[in-house]
Amino acid sequence: MSGIFCSLRQFSVTYARGNKAAALDRIDLDIKAGERLAIIGESGSGKSTLARALAGLLPDGAKVGGEMHWPALGHPPRPGRDFGFVFQDPGTSLNPLLTIGEQIAEGARRHLGLGWKQALIRAEELLGRVRMPQPDKVLRAFPHQLSGGQRQRVAIAAAVAARPALLIADEATSALDVVVQAEIVRLLDGLVREDGMTLVFITHDIALASGFVDRIAVFRDARLVEAGPVRSVLSAPKSDYTAVMIASHRDLSTPPLIAEASP
């Protein structure tokens, strides 16, 4: 698979009424088929707006300008079939009243033309693929019986149930602790590799993303600051903002914030 999967030209989004500031301001960005692209930015940079715009989840009042094309598909993407979406908070993205099996099977049943039984078998398979222990039991469990990391695995299984070509993960690891974050990222990486999916991974954590993606696009204040292969962005950032963001990455070797603040 090569070529452009989705291309944005002068793409803008404004949330209407009074608020004149654009949430996305004339973005030019290509998502290549089969690549793993990280969209990185701080809160309010427009990265989630981009994810929602790709998924057609913008609220009713939002104004969209510019162009969004899907050359690889040749038609607007069908939700669930052509793309899957993983939300930030797995605590709220699963319906509390439906079993895990029903929620995963829904996409498979709807888009792959399976009956309920087959769809549930596929759901069990998927639970195995996202490495849930005892998939047959989890199938009949409700979301509140699972931990946060497990719920996010379920959400990922539900998103890829209909074998979409594109997976959009909107801050999919932000609500999880660091150890679970690494597991989820590894899982996403594996799934995307095995199925040849295109991945759009939206995050504020440049270190987490740069570990496994091919390309990075940095957003700030509704604009695309720069985009390029991971290595060149990390080693030679074109913009000062990217450089600052890389420098402000914290790990255990960085002096603690509180000590810095005290005299």
Binding site: L57, G84, F87, Q88, N95, L97, L98, H144
Partner: protein, 277 residues
């Protein structure tokens, strides 16, 4: 099943359920315990309770069996109360869903209609309705429902507005579910529990309104009702107070039972919301 068990684990739930079970049993067994028309003249007039084993609760001014009236009255009260509350819930949930989903002008219009029904006292509305259209059981049911549907409508709308913004609704959209399907499979089941908890209160209110209507002579005169029994007993209140007291007590116990049941239900459903860990 687990919800039912949780309902049984609260004392008020058990008490309410027991009262309602006894009432339901009495209502269902009415034709067996006391065959024939409960309004027929069965014996000597104004027989006090416990005087004649054939009439354990005595007879009224016209010699009608009070026990028969009581258990047939339970049928009327429960049937009218449940039917009215059910109609009110259906109407309220439908209007609330429509308002919550459609939004904007439809929402505004429907909510003004709800306002109009809310500012008129439900009993006055039922009174006006029945006295204009005429007395029959379906009309009484409809009249009571018209005074009671506004609260569930408001509650449903508020629930729908809150739940439609939840991530799991968005995630149903991104797996390509049809909006109608999202409404009925994702939103409605999550919106219903508080509305259902309200329903028991509506049943209690409907039973009281029905009794009040028949007390005023606006119930169906051909069937036994507690309201009309209380009204009948009023003229001999000094000499035979039991004629008003017995159906009055039955009414109070019924409403109490429904309220206890609803209390237990709210607690059982409330526990449900807490299990997120």
């Amino acid at each position: 099943m687990s919800r039912f068990r949780r309902l049984l684990s609260t004392p008020e739930g058990v008490a309410g359920l027991a009262i309602l079970a006894v009432l339901l049993l009495a209502a269902l067994s009415a034709p067996i315990v006391s065959p024939g028309d409960p309004l027929r003249i069965a014996g000597r007039a104004l027989l006090p309770p416990f005087a004649d084993p054939a009439f354990p609760l005595g007879t009224d001014r016209l010699g009608r069996d009070v026990l028969a009236g009581l258990i047939y009255g339970a049928r009327t009260s429960l049937a009218v109360g449940l039917a009215a509350a059910f109609s009110a819930m259906i109407l309220g949930v439908c209007v609330g869903m429509a308002a919550g989903f459609a939004g904007r002008i439809v929402d505004e219009a429907l909510m003004r209609v709800v306002d109009a029904f809310q500012i008129v006292p439900g009993f006055l509305l039922a009174l006006a309705f029945v006295s204009t259209i005429g007395v029959s059981t379906p009309v009484v049911v409809l009249a009571i429902a018209l005074g009671a549907w506004a609260d569930p409508a408001r509650l449903t709308r508020a629930q729908v507005l809150a739940i439609r913004e939840q991530d799991y609704v968005a995630s149903a959209r991104v797996i390509g579910m049809h909006p109608v399907e999202i409404a009925f499979r994702e939103i409605l089941p999550n919106a219903l529990p508080p509305v259902l908890a309200l329903s028991a209160t509506i049943v209690a209110g409907a039973i009281l309104t029905e009794a009040a209507l028949s007390f005023l002579g606006l119930g169906n005169p051909n069937i036994a009702t507690w309201g009309s029994m209380i009204a009948e007993g009023r003229s001999v209140l000094r000499s035979a107070a039991y004629l008003s007291v017995i159906p009055g007590a039955a009414l109070a116990v019924t409403v109490l039972g429904v309220h206890l049941f609803s209390e237990g239900l709210v607690n059982a459903l409330g526990d449900d919301g807490g299990r997120t860990a």
